[in-house]
């Protein structure tokens, strides 16, 4: 917590706070996190959140693999990441402490449920003695609270079982944290009352727990002070907190609506992409047709079929699934049908670390098919940007008649941030030209500007035609093995993708338009990069930053921008896949990588440290 200043009351004003809630999967951690988020959003802070789920569905209680957590960072200034290090750790058991302590800032606050720190539990977490008592946490401010006991006492008269009473202890803890950060409890009270409408006794117990926790912190002086984060200066409008998954799903629904077509989503269960399927399956009233396929290949092939028959057709997956879909994507390239393939990247290769994030699939998106097989590629840069990029993906795919890969990742889809809601009236319609005259119709005739072929779907009399994976004669689309025709068609397919550059925005640079260092990222590294660069610019460092969201083709001004900087630093959660492409495509510039493959997003501090190292070692000279 930087910039602490005393005010007359025991309230300290701080500009940014990062809190992590951690406990067993059964401790209601995600619920506490989302409630705290809502209360914080209502107060007008800018915020960013990230949950962390255990890889196992039901790891044994109290063990290290069973720990789940939720981190929120909130501020009076614009923020772009869920925070590098928590200032406050709320732990519901010893395992949660063990797993998360290494991330806590020096001098940070630990709020612990002391009732769970009994030998059986702290031994299960790998502690020999009670860490709350053995002095090992000297570097932190430890607030042990007998939460289970206090909560049970508060609910002694409630008509509930011991188990039910115990389950509401997370609301007690939440009440304590609400007081600590001066949040009103009302939004959570309302939520509980609505959620447990049919179980009023549970609603009442949860509210009692919440308020008791709050009052306990207020009256017992276990904390020497509490904190306030002022309202952020946010653009006026209506907001909601949104995860990358929700934003992706909404973007797809909106795009299909704007294109006036049914939405087809074909997908096979895979972490972390499955949530898109679950989300879309709720939207049947929007004519969303979800298809849970028998495998990844069926998912993409059905998507191609749906596109052929006239739906806005999407398939979603994660890395291993993209590998399986490769052959069929080639079919979509050859048949020039619009499909969007969403790849929620995760740490690979193979099964890798399914719940952990990575940007390892850029090279596969570019090259992972046989033959000369170009597709358009986009990447979302933040949870709410998934909405924009999902719509862009559909727009580009259907207007340019091409498969398109949209890259997101585990960090983006699970993370959440406030999203200023767009006015639907202002979203532009997705125009699709399907004009075809039976007299002159050519299945592989092309729009002179975009080179897109017409999207003529079955059901139109007089336009019956055959398409398929065999090479097509230019124009007529009949099967052709003519050598020169093949070369022309390969060229046309590549040129069609290249021309998308005229239909996407130019890359924007933040900071000086030319200079010493440009930090160029792509996709989800946006938050860490922009935060680090803004911080350093306020400290007087000359560093600019830009984030690629359109990767194939690149924005038309990219080459020019790169040439205006002495050094281009490319942070990526892989070993340098974008850097290699840039070096090949735009030689003559000086590139440096910042690469991390730990299944974790970049921290702001890591980008800063690299920049500081560059400045100190004088690489620039």
């Amino acid at each position: 917590m930087a910039d602490t200043k005393e005010v007359t009351t025991p309230i300290k004003e701080v500009d940014r706070v990062t809190i992590r809630f951690a406990g067993d999967s059964g401790d209601g951690i995600q619920l506490s996190g989302s409630q705290f988020t809502l209360a914080t959003a209502r107060l007008g802070n800018d915020l960013s959140t990230l949950p962390d789920f255990p890889a196992e569905i039901r790891a044994p209680a109290g063990t290290l693999p069973g720990v789940s957590s939720f981190q929120i960072s909130f501020s009076e200034n614009p923020i772009f990441t869920p925070g590098d290090q928590p200032d406050v750790l709320v732990v519901m058991n010893p395992a949660a402490l063990k797993v998360n302590l290494k991330d806590l800032t020096d001098g940070g606050i630990i709020v612990a449920n002391a009732n769970t720190f009994v030998p059986a539990n702290f031994k299960k977490a790998g502690y020999d003695s009670n860490p709350l008592e053995d002095g090992s946490l000297k570097a932190y401010r430890v607030i042990p609270l007998p939460i289970t006991e206090l909560n049970a006492r508060a609910l002694a008269d409630a008509p509930l079982t011991k188990k039910e009473i115990d389950r509401s202890k997370n609301f007690f803890a939440l009440g304590v944290v609400y007081w600590l950060f001066d949040r009103p409890v009302e939004s959570t009270v309302e939520w509980v009352q609505d959620k447990f409408k049919r179980r009023p006794e549970i609603a009442k117990a949860n509210v009692t727990s919440l308020k008791t926790g709050y009052n306990y912190a207020l009256t017992t002086e276990v904390f020497t002070s509490h904190y306030r984060v002022r309202k952020a200066d946010m653009e006026p409008g209506e907001y909601r907190n949104i995860t990358g998954t929700e934003a992706t799903a909404l973007g797809l629904v909106a795009a299909a609506r704007l294109a006036d077509k049914p939405l087809f989503y074909g997908s096979y269960p895979i972490t972390p992409a499955s949530d898109i399927l679950h989300e879309l399956a709720k939207f049947k009233q929007f004519d969303v047709r979800t298809f849970q396929a028998e495998d990844e290949i069926a998912a993409v092939c059905a998507t191609i079929g749906a596109s052929y028959a006239g739906a806005v057709a999407i398939t979603g997956t994660s890395g291993p699934g993209l590998a399986l879909k490769a052959e069929a994507i080639g079919l979509a390239v050859m048949t020039e049908l619009p499909i969007v393939i969403i790849n929620v990247q995760r740490a690979g290769p193979s099964t890798g670390m399914p719940t952990k994030t990575e940007q390892g699939d850029l090279a596969m998106a570019f090259n992972g098919r046989h033959g000369e097989s170009p597709v358009a590629i986009l990447a979302a840069s933040s949870p709410s940007d998934c909405f924009t990029m999902a719509m862009e993906a559909v727009r580009i795919a259907v207007q340019h008649m091409t498969p398109l890969i949209l890259l997101t990742d585990g960090y983006l889809v699970n993370g959440a941030e406030p999203w200023r809601l767009p006015d639907v009236e202002e979203l532009s319609r997705i125009r699709i030209t399907q004009d075809a005259d039976p007299e002159t119709f050519q299945p592989y005739g092309r729009d002179p500007e975009t080179l897109a072929r017409p999207w003529v779907t079955p059901g139109h009399p007089g336009l019956e035609h055959r398409i398929g994976g065999l090479e097509k004669a230019e124009g007529s689309g009949v099967v052709s093995h003519d050598p020169l025709n093949h070369e022309r068609m390969v060229g046309l397919r590549a040129e069609k993708i290249a021309r998308i550059a005229h239909d996407i925005p130019e890359l924007e640079v933040e900071g000086e338009r030319s200079g010493d260092i440009l930090v160029l990222g792509w996709g989800s590294t946006y938050g860490a990069i922009i935060s680090a660069c803004r911080q350093m610019r306020t400290e007087g460092v000359r560093v600019s930053n830009a984030q690629l969201r359109y990767l194939n083709p690149f924005p038309r001004n990219l080459g020019n921008i790169l040439s205006r900087f002495k050094l281009v630093l490319v942070p990526e959660l892989n070993l340098g896949q974008l850097r290699d492409i840039l070096a090949a495509r735009y030689p003559g510039n000086r590139y440096m990588g910042l690469n991390k493959v730990q299944g974790q997003p970049f921290k702001i501090g890591e980008i800063r440290a690299k920049l500081e190292e560059i400045l100190e070692t004088g690489v620039m000279v």
Binding site: L38, A41, G44, S187, E235, P236, E238, Y239, R240, N241, L250, V253, A254, F264, F283, K284, Q285, F286, R289, F291, A293, E294, D295, I297, A298, C301, A302, T303, I304, G305, A306, S307, Y308, A309, G310, A311, A328, L331, T335, L421, V424, E425, D435, D437, V456, T457, P458, G459, H460, P461, G462, E464, H465, R466, I467, G468, G469, L470, V478, V479
Partner: protein
């Protein structure tokens, strides 16, 4: 562009309307020609406008079929025709969608999609051209090749057991399952016609001769001089009587079939009256499994039951949601959940 012809009355079409301008490229004498000819003959009778037919295929000799039909057509990739067809049907259930596949395409590389397309009861008609060999890749053993079969990939005999396509389809709960022979053109035409009228997943196995790589593979049962004693033609509501002089019968004895003279004493077995509409597919399954030389082989419709199709149910859920909640408003959707306002 003209509008989707849901309402366009089917004009009177002829066989000629379904012949495309593409030169047919199968080997002379290939069994595929007969299927193509019968298909082009029956489609004008189906009462569906030409633009509402889609032929989908995977890879293999049979998968060239869509190019020769003057309808909409999609020649996809190896084994995936059924998956592509499923997507087509989800996007536009008004279309009459046909999948043309072979024993390798449909039961080896595409076996998984076949299983799931059938068990979902997607309203597509699957024609599986069974020639017990890989033709296009020039003569390897296929999943229907007989145990011990000598092919290029099994020079000293196949060590695998073949799949029985009809048995597979019945196990997958296809709602229409039939078998016919490419050389029995009348029979084939009637089976194709029945498949065309079926709503739901229809599976038709066609014994098809590959005269280049597996000539005469079904001769034992289909040859002119033996067929009447070795093929049992299934007819709904009729007893399973066959033979040159209609003197042989298939009887059920416990859980297996017995074949013998029609007038043989019953001996605890009983004559079967064929019931395509039986909801329990067990008998159909036993009939499908009858194989020469142990048994005569059955052709005709094994099973024809009506169940809700995948596409009906899919669209039904959408209709239901729309009548319960109204056709969704995008503005409301975006503004749903916990929202707040910054002034």
């Amino acid at each position: 562009m003209a509008t989707i012809s849901e309402t366009t009355p089917a004009p009177s079409l002829t066989r000629q309307d379904f012949i495309s301008d593409q030169e047919v490229r199968w080997c002379p004498g290939c069994g595929d020609y007969a299927v193509l000819a019968q298909m082009q003959k029956i489609l004008p009778q189906v009462g569906v406008a030409r633009e509402n037919f889609v032929f989908v295929s995977g890879i293999g000799c049979s998968s060239r079929f869509p190019y020769y039909m003057n309808t909409y057509g999609f020649h996809s990739i190896h084994g995936r025709g059924t998956a592509v067809a499923t997507g087509i049907k989800c996007a536009n259930p008004n279309l009459s969608v046909w999948v043309v596949t072979g024993d390798g395409d449909g039961l080896s590389i595409g076996g998984n999609h076949m299983l799931h397309t059938l068990r979902r009861n997607v309203d597509v008609k699957v024609l599986l051209f069974n020639n017990r060999i890989y033709g296009l890749t020039k003569g390897q053993a296929s999943p229907t090749s007989e145990h011990g079969k000598h092919t290029k990939s099994t020079p000293v005999g196949s060590i695998e057991n073949p799949i029985n396509p009809v048995s597979f389809a019945i196990s997958a709960e296809a709602t229409f399952v039939a078998r016919t022979v490419a050389t029995e053109t009348k029979h084939m035409a009637s089976v194709l016609r029945r498949a065309a009228d079926h709503r739901g997943a229809a599976f038709v196995e066609i014994y098809q001769n590959c005269n280049i790589f597996n000539d005469g593979t079904f001769e034992d049962v289909t040859a002119r001089d033996v067929k009447s004693d070795r093929l049992v033609v299934l007819e709904h509501g009729k007893p399973l009587v066959f033979g040159k002089n209609s003197n042989l019968a298939v009887r059920l004895h416990n859980l297996h079939m017995e074949v013998g003279p029609l007038d043989a004493p019953s001996n605890g077995s009983h004559l079967i009256v064929h019931d395509e509409r039986a909801s329990d597919p067990t008998l159909a399954h036993i009939l499908g499994n009858m194989r020469w030389p142990d048994y005569p082989e059955c052709i005709g419709v094994f099973r024809d039951v009506r169940k809700p199709t995948y596409d009906e149910l899919l669209l039904g859920q959408i209709d239901q949601a729309q009548s319960a909640k109204g056709a969704g408003s995008l503005q409301d959707l975006i503004h749903s959940g916990d929202t707040w306002t910054i002034e």
